[in-house]
């Protein structure tokens, strides 16, 4: 045992190595183990777009960051308390995030000339005098792992693949984590391959024992359980929560779920997840392209399913025309955009919020669609259900915005009781006889919604299409007055959704010096930074938008209550543009397009500067 165990409230750790080094798995295991230990957790996986970028290079570095805490946290942390690097490239690309005095854990075996050349460093970066500010622990992980698995008679190449488990074991010792959840994972995942399971188990234990035996650090750390709201929890990733939310929404509305999708990073995991749940009446269609995916979705919506399509910015661009059709057909469906760095192919594996204007306005003609944004991995579950409620109540496609940071990030999710969730009631019109008055497919109810008449229903045969429709009958109409009337009516319907959604809540005072207005995945960083401002006695409040189209009814009044409004976004000011043009408010912006989320410290500094 190390001489002391230090109690801390939170810890931020990053594993960084080659994209083949298993860093994502290592980070995920530490996350799950910490969650099971009762901590609040938040993660940030960061990996290259290439599946196997050249080994040992800076481009090939893959990282996984996790923060676990005994208190509520909303971000994966800014500066690192502990950085584990498996090679020199990982060191040079990550070291700037390690706090002064932080722990640097190094696989010493990879700090050799050949690796220096691959990482394009002149000499051993560990010899750099700047390293003095860190507590460096050098471990011969490759050699120790080989020794640990020696008795299994594996080749060196094979043995070396286990060294991430050695690193994991060492960190488990350092943070007093239980080995059992990961031993169970190894058994489940590799149970059918005993030599792999055995090698990983030995490497994990070797790493743990190495720490204990050598007392490698002066003290180890203990993070107590977080005081979360009582209930049963599990760790969820954003895309998984979205998929489960969609399945749940379908069941709540007594519908089968249809997904039309084309593989695209970072949305594909929703397709993978939904494909596994056919027993809940889920049909997944991997289409020939993005356009076919959304068109099949519209076809399934016409047929009466809960139909959804999933993609990212480039795919949404291709879907634009069909989204406009969905709008004028006035059929319910969900269009899910997991945003990534743009423009064009951009930064496929990195996060950004730069598709907001695309989703708001990226269609020909007057084509308003509701836009709802999820704020965190667990929130994706409810976002999907809320979106489907709106889609069915107002008979329209609804766009859900998530992003790569939310999609791949994980956090504890308080598991709901399905039976306690509010049902989504949908009423399809019934059969008509020839004596009934003719069916009017575009006759509207109080919400301005038209009936969702299903093919197969006798007497309701009707035709829909992309041409302008006559009010009520839905027949093709080129009448100029009718066209203007219909454009306004469709807009009015979307505006009416504001009566149905909750008003915007304010974290802090209802008026003051500064209002931080945020949306989407920046929720965590904004919340944390605002909380710190408030703790320092500054007049800063926070409001986080879930619905961006339409805006909540009380937004305008709220904006007027503050001396300054600031909108932090991972783009060059897209919500800021909409707020300025909608309300004539001179909102400030904080903009970042680096493919990475905001850090709390950078927001904090800018908020303080704005208050002056």
């Amino acid at each position: 045992m190390a001489s002391t165990v230090e109690n801390i409230s939170r810890a931020t750790i990053r594993f960084a190595g080659d994209s083949g080094d298993g860093m994502q798995l290592t980070g995920t295991q530490l996350t799950n183990t910490s969650a099971l230990a009762g901590n609040d957790v938040a993660t940030f996986p960061d990996f290259p777009a290439e599946i196997r970028a050249p080994r040992g290079t800076r481009a090939g570095v893959s990282g996984f960051q996790v923060q676990f805490a005994s208190e509520d946290i909303f971000t994966p942390g800014d500066q690192l308390d502990t950085l584990v690097v498996m090679n020199p490239a990982a060191l040079v690309t990550n070291i700037s995030d390690l706090r002064s005095g932080g722990l640097l854990i190094v696989n010493e075996d990879s700090f050799v000339d050949k690796e220096f050349r691959l990482a394009k460093v002149e000499s051993n970066p560990l010899d750099n005098p700047d390293m003095d500010q860190y507590r460096v622990i050098k471990i011969k992980m490759t050699l120790l792992t080989r020794t640990a698995v020696e008795e299994l008679g594996l080749s060196n190449k094979f043995a070396d693949r286990c060294k991430n488990f050695f690193a994991m074991g060492f960190v488990y010792w350092l943070y007093n984590r239980e080995l059992q959840p990961t031993l169970d994972f190894i058994n489940t995942k590799f149970g059918s391959k005993p030599e792999i399971a055995g090698a990983n188990e030995k490497a994990l234990k070797a790493g743990y024992n190495y720490g204990e035996t050598t007392e490698a650090a002066v003290s180890t750390y203990q993070v107590e359980k977080a005081k979360l709201k009582s209930g049963t929890y599990k760790n969820v990733m954003g895309n998984q929560a979205l998929a489960w939310g969609c399945i749940t929404a379908a069941k709540l509305s007594d519908k089968d779920l249809f997904l039309g999708s084309y593989p695209i990073t970072p949305a594909s995991d929703i397709l993978h997840e939904l494909s596994k749940h056919k027993k809940f009446g889920v049909r997944t269609f991997q289409a020939e392209d993005e356009i076919a995916a959304v068109c099949a979705t519209i076809g399934a919506a016409f047929g009466g399913h809960m139909a959804i399509t999933t993609s990212s910015g480039p795919g949404i661009a291709l879907k634009g025309e069909a989204m406009g059709l969905g709008m004028i057909l006035e059929l319910p469906m969900l269009i899910i955009n997991i945003q990534r760095g743009g423009p064009s192919t951009g930064l496929p594996t990195k996060t950004e919020q730069s598709d907001l204007l695309q989703c708001m306005y990226g269609r020909n003609g007057e084509s308003p669609l509701p836009v709802i944004a999820s704020r965190s991995p667990a929130d994706c579950f409810e976002t999907a259900i809320d979106a489907w409620r709106v889609a069915t109540k107002f008979m329209c496609p609804v766009i859900i915005l998530s992003d790569g940071y939310i999609a791949n990030g994980a956090e504890p999710w308080r598991i709901p009781d399905y039976d306690a969730l509010e049902k989504i009631v949908i009423q399809h019109p019934g059969e008509r006889s020839e004596d009934d008055p003719p069916f009017l497919p575009y006759k509207r109810d109080d919400n301005l919604s038209r009936p969702w008449a299903l093919p197969g229903t006798k007497g309701l045969e009707h035709r829909i299409g992309g041409l302008e429709k006559e009010h009520e009958t839905g027949n093709v109409s080129y009448d100029p007055d009718n066209h203007e009337f219909m454009c306004k009516l469709r807009q009015e319907k979307i505006d009416k959704i504001a009566d149905f959604i909750p008003e915007l809540e304010v974290d802090g005072e209802q008026s003051g010096d500064l209002l931080v207005l945020s949306w989407g995945g920046t929720y965590g960083a904004c919340t944390t930074a605002v909380t710190q401002c408030q703790a320092e006695g500054l007049s800063v409040s926070h409001a986080h938008l879930r619905f961006i189209n339409p805006f909540p009814r009380n937004l305008e009044a709220l904006l007027g209550n503050f001396k300054k409004v600031v909108i932090p976004e991972l783009n060059l000011g897209q919500l800021q543009k909409i707020i300025k043009s909608t309300y004539g408010v001179d909102a400030e912006g904080i903009h970042k397009v680096k493919g990475r989320p905001f850090s709390v410290s950078e927001l904090l500094a800018q908020f303080k500067e704005l208050i002056g």
Binding site: T232, K234, I298, G299, A301, L325, G466, N475
Partner: protein
Amino acid sequence: MSTELPVLKPADFGSDQDVRWCPGCGDYSILAQMKKALAAQGFPREKTAFISGIGCSSRFPYYMATYGMHSIHGRAPAFATGLKSARPDLQVWVITGDGDALSIGGNHLMHAIRRNVNVNIVLFNNRIYGLTKGQYSPTSEIGKVTKSTPMGSVDNPLTPLSVAVGCGATFIARTIDTNVKHLAATLQKAAEHNGTSFVEVYQNCNIFNDGAWKYATDRATKQDNVVELEHGKPLIFGAESDKGIRLNGLNPEVVELGNGIAEDDLLFHDAEAPEPTMAYLLSRMHQPDFPEAIGVFRQIDAPIYDDQLNAQVAAAQEAAPNAVLNDLFNSGNTWEVE
């Protein structure tokens, strides 16, 4: 009281909308024969859906008293795939044209056919863009002079049926707008086939490409220029039924019967051949070297996309009849917070 089910007549399949195709358009004939085919088939009107793309032909759904969707240029097969996957109980038709299906929608046509989605695709081929007022299409002949090709088009045309063969279509047929009996019979066969049915209709655009199929429709010439395929029968054509198609190695050739050439020497049509080689060869017979074939080129049974998709869902549900979402939510590692 009568307990008999009402029998629908062709007129019962027409909607109350005015038909707005140009007078004399070949589309009228296809509309009329479609109504006849549907009435003859006796399938419920409310269980029938017509999905179209964009173009003159794609106005078709508006004129049918069934369910229908006038969708996006080229994408009708994708809409139909989604609808049929969700609602296998419906009879789904795709109405498309040469530009819609083969130009902007080539990708979706290919994939609907290769998946063998159980829909009926009817391609109105008039070898021109009509709705945009007369540009050349992917089936226009080389050298076609149009508004967009004043010096003649230089791109090689596609043969729709060759494309269908290449995609592994399980039902491939060709018919002609003016040959109304053949047209109605072909549509009915397409409806009866399980799997994707692909039907090309030679359709005359009397405004922008009048007479494109004259050789195949003119009383004086059609019998010499068209050979009607019948399963198990030799390929014989001509006003006097005195000409036939014979295979010379892998190449077809036109021969005259008599002078030592008997019917048994001719190519016998086998629509049910497992390999589509012969269907491809027939699709490549073009004027003026060969008569062009009409009828069913190929009809085979093969697994159907929407059947299998729904069978997987049914199998999963059967294997877990008591599946509840609370079990999904609580699967894997969970922990309690007091």
